[in-house]
């Protein structure tokens, strides 16, 4: 013990130069990670940075292509999650990986149930419940171990998952976004448990989007971007600003500079005169977004800035009727209704929505590019009114050229296209329906720089022609470059809204992190 205080303790886990490739994508590129006993280690990064892949590489879900993993100094390779668990590495995933149909105690002890007759007889339910109760109590969780897991809220299930992990005498506990569904009290309770475990010498990996929480609980952090480690820091010596800059990267590669000034002028003129095309008042949904107002004028680009988990995607989904809001009112072109019942409704009212999850919510991989492009229009017409062949080919040709989709063969299956070209096809799908409002959720994520520029240019052009756009992106530069007006979200709340005049990335970061900087002063001066 005294030794550990004097010398730096030996890492429980050391991952060295680990790489994983999926097809053509380098998900992890020479990543190293050191976990010390008795620390809370935050793993930070935006979507696609490689956090989940890293965790799955450590716990034996994925096989690594190159690099080494050492557990307590011994090189190890886990073939299955079970093997990792036996070695004392337990993981609690964001989506609770327990079985809802069994009791709390059973979930905690599945596979390790105490049995009568020295471990060969029947499962001893009473002993099982007793042991579970003791373990839960040790973590300060007060629930009946005999109750069914599914009858508890997700937050409690999350704690039970942690209790299960703890009960296996885990040396390393990985918590993958455990707080995303918890309220403030529950987070406090979780942190109490985490501190207790840390003090007992457990190494805890903590993944969270909530910066304040990360700074409250973590000792050290590793920051990932695009599958690479971009920093390893002690939390005490790091500011939120610095962290966010590392996470999103100051991508200074020169993108095509759009005419910022011209934008501002036109945006301003627009805002004052016309009726809003869409306005939301108090739109919200429990667990995803607090009541939020948003107004959108014709020909305007509203940029949504916010980190992952800030509610940026949730806002777009609520606007489109993809999720049902609990509260609020949505007015589309003057006709008020409490909510849109379905995407079908929204599309009929000339809304369009490009989801951030291209693969799961946008693309039909086995269908041809042309079919993918025309599906939105076809869905509106219904199956009995197919798009005439001539119109089909004209539309497809027009948009293939306009958006520069490559390879320029509309009969290819969608899966053979690169991410950027798939995104262009999805944009074309919506543009063909001639919407008034375009909701774009991360339209440029994971695509190459050329396609990115083209899409940005397209958004600017569309707005010029009178279309209203809600533009969501993790890249602040991009949001600032395109939008007339800026809405900042944090922790599922709108925290600021202002015209995009003289705002730069640092100003936005300061709004998000709440740390002092230029903009606050500027505003004071304005007032």
């Amino acid at each position: 013990m005294s030794q550990a205080e004097t010398k730096p303790p030996r890492p429980v886990v050391e991952m060295l130069d680990v790489s994983i490739t999926f097809g053509a994508v380098r998900a992890l590129d020479g990543v190293s990670l050191r976990l010390l006993p008795g620390e809370v280690h935050a793993l930070m990064g935006e979507n696609g940075a490689g956090k989940s892949t890293l965790i799955k590489a450590l716990t034996g879900v994925y096989t690594i292509d190159s690099g080494r993993v050492e557990i307590a100094g011994v090189e190890t390779r886990f073939a299955t999650p079970a093997a990792a668990q036996h070695a004392g590495i337990s993981t609690v995933y964001q989506e609770v990986n327990l079985v809802p149909n069994l009791t709390v105690a059973e979930n905690m002890l599945l596979g390790r149930e105490p049995r009568r007759l020295n471990g060969i007889g029947a499962i001893d339910r009473r002993a099982m419940n007793r042991r579970a109760a003791a373990s839960l109590q040790g973590l300060g969780i007060d629930i009946d171990p005999g109750s069914e897991l599914g009858s508890h809220p997700i937050a409690v299930q999350q704690l039970v998952a942690i209790a299960r992990a703890v009960d296996t005498d885990a040396r390393v506990l990985i918590l993958d976004e455990p707080t995303s569904s918890l309220d403030a009290d529950e987070v406090a309770r979780l942190f109490e448990v985490m501190r207790r475990l840390r003090d007992q010498g457990t190494a805890i990996v903590f993944v969270s989007h909530f910066l304040d929480q990360v700074f409250e609980i973590s000792d050290r952090m590793t920051i990932l971007r695009n599958g690479r480690v971009v920093g390893e820091r002690r939390v005490a010596e790091t500011t939120q600003l610095e962290l966010v800059q590392l996470m999103i990267g100051r991508d200074l590669q020169v993108l095509e500079r759009l005419d910022h000034a011209a934008h501002e002028a036109s945006g301003e003129a627009v805002t004052e005169q016309r009726l809003p095309v869409l306005s939301a008042v108090g739109l919200g949904r429990k667990g995803s977004l607090e009541a939020t107002d948003l107004t959108l004028f014709p020909g305007e680009v509203v940029g949504i800035a916010g980190l992952l988990g800030s509610g940026r995607t949730e806002l777009a989904r609520l606007l489109f009727g993809a999720d049902a809001p609990d509260t609020g009112e949505l007015t589309v072109r003057g006709s008020s209704r409490r909510r849109l019942r379905s995407p079908r409704h929204a599309i009929d009212r000339k809304l369009a929505f490009c989801s951030e999850d291209r693969k799961a919510e946008g693309v039909f991989e086995e269908l041809s590019v042309a079919d993918n492009m025309l599906l939105g229009l076809q869905a509106s017409r219904g199956w009995l009114r197919p798009i005439p062949t001539a119109t089909r080919s004209t539309l497809v040709k027009e948009f293939m050229t306009a958006l520069d989709v490559r390879p320029a063969d509309p009969s290819l299956p969608m899966r053979s296209l690169s991410g950027g070209n798939q995104q262009k096809v999805l944009l074309a799908r919506w543009l063909i329906t001639e919407p008034d409002v375009l909701l774009l959720d991360e339209p440029t994520r994971g695509i190459d720089i050329g396609a990115k520029t083209q899409i940005q240019q397209l958004v600017a052009d569309l707005a010029e022609k009178g279309m209203s756009v809600v533009f969501i992106s993790a890249e602040l530069e991009e949001v600032l470059r395109l939008s007339h007006r800026l809405v900042v979200l944090k922790d599922r709340r709108k925290i600021a809204e202002r015209p995009n005049r003289g705002v730069d990335v640092n100003d936005v970061l300061e709004i998000i992190t709440g740390e002092p900087g230029g903009l606050a002063e500027k505003e004071r001066a304005d007032a």
Binding site: T21, F22, G23, V61, Y62, T63, D65, F320, A322, S342, P343, R344, I347, D348, F353, S355, A360, E361, G362, V363, F364, E365, E366, L367, D371, L375, G376, Q378, A379, S380, R381, G382, W383, L384, R385, P386, I387, R429
Partner: protein, 353 residues
């Protein structure tokens, strides 16, 4: 010379990669086996202006399974399945036969037309019922259609009063045994429905929307596809196909036995669809594949007695076909075979999957 060999090889590889290669190869092999066992197997002759021969018989006898399989293909393409088709076929046969028997002019062609129309109308109602359970109530297709599978034969018996109802109506019997332009009517109906479906599915947007619902339900929803209408449409269509098949079977025997009419036809139909390369997971479908699958099953049924094995053993061969075809389509089995082939680990694919 080596170049031509290369081209032939490449062509061969491309043919083998085609998804109908293996079913067609199996069909060809079966025909060859038959030809060896009975050298006159391919002979077709015209007698009384009607075409006769083993090949004609295969198409004629395979008609009911083909019909049911056409409807099943569309249902499966939406990620569904319809277990009730056998029961629906029995109900359709029962309704038509009972109507004809009870009619005062039970031999008239008009009676047969009304009977057939009534039977098909009942099928539409049954299809709506299945579609309601799947699309509106949201019950898994396999469970939702199980209800009608269990109750359906009871309903058919209720209609027939538990009797084997025998009809004497030439117009009705012509559904199965009649000939038109030298060809058997049953085969013409099945091939006609096949062609019509193929045209409707590919000329309207139905095929595209069915595939979109089957490939990615969530993306379909966000793209504004009215999945409910699509699902309802395919279940009604499947019931109509099943009903037509039931009528043909009843016409063939001039009677309806509610207990045995169309028994296990759902399994044969699903088998035909799977052999034809349409995945049970939904998505892309191939009606042509289903046609090949149905013909393969019909040929198999014909082959077994032809080569001197008791007809009942065809179940064994069907089991064999199911397992082989499914293994050939299973990505995991393919991975195992590949690993045997080139000894390079493909753990990545598994990890991603």
């Amino acid at each position: 010379m080596p170049e031509t060999v290369g081209t032939v090889k490449a062509l061969g590889a491309r043919a083998m990669a085609h998804r109908l290669f293996w079913p067609l190869a199996a069909l060809g092999a079966l025909l060859v086996v038959n030809l060896i066992a009975t050298p006159t197997f391919f002979n077709v002759r015209i007698q009384d202006g009607h075409l006769f021969g083993s090949l004609v018989d295969i198409v004629r006898n395979g008609a009911p399974v083909l019909l049911v399989a056409i409807g099943m293909t569309l249902v499966i393409a939406t990620r569904g399945i319809d277990l009730s088709v056998g029961a629906v076929a029995a109900i359709a046969g029962a309704v038509a036969c009972v109507y004809i028997v009870k009619s005062p002019v039970d031999g008239a062609a008009g009676t047969a037309v009304v009977a057939i129309t009534m039977a098909l109308a009942v099928c539409v109602a049954l299809g709506l019922w299945n579609g309601f359970l799947v699309a509106v109530v949201g019950i898994q297709p396999i469970i939702a259609t199980l209800v009608l599978m269990v109750a359906g034969r009871g309903i058919a018996m209720l209609v027939t009063g538990g009797q084997i109802t025998t009809v004497n109506n030439d117009a009705f019997a012509a559904l199965a045994s009649g000939h038109l332009l030298t060809l058997p009517v049953a085969a013409l109906i099945a091939l006609g429905v096949f062609t019509a479906t193929q045209i409707v599915v590919r000329r309207t947007a139905l095929g595209l929307l069915i595939e979109s619902v089957g490939i990615n339900p969530e993306a379909s929803r966000l793209a504004g596809v009215r999945s409910r209408t699509i699902i309802w449409t395919v279940y009604v269509f499947a019931a109509l196909c099943a009903g037509t098949a039931g009528l043909i079977i009843a016409a063939n025997t001039h009677s309806v036995n509610a207990n045995s009419l169309g028994l296990w036809i759902e399994l044969d139909a699903i088998l035909a669809v799977v052999i034809g390369g349409t995945s049970l997971a939904g998505g892309r479908f191939s009606l042509t594949g289903t046609l090949v699958g149905a013909l393969l099953i019909a040929t198999l049924t014909r082959t077994i007695p032809n080569i001197g094995i008791p007809a009942e053993a065809n179940y064994l061969f069907k089991a064999l076909v199911v397992v082989v075809v499914c293994l050939l389509q299973s990505p995991k089995a393919r991975a195992v075979l590949q690993r045997r082939g080139d000894r390079t680990p493909t753990s990545r694919e598994e990890a991603v999957a």
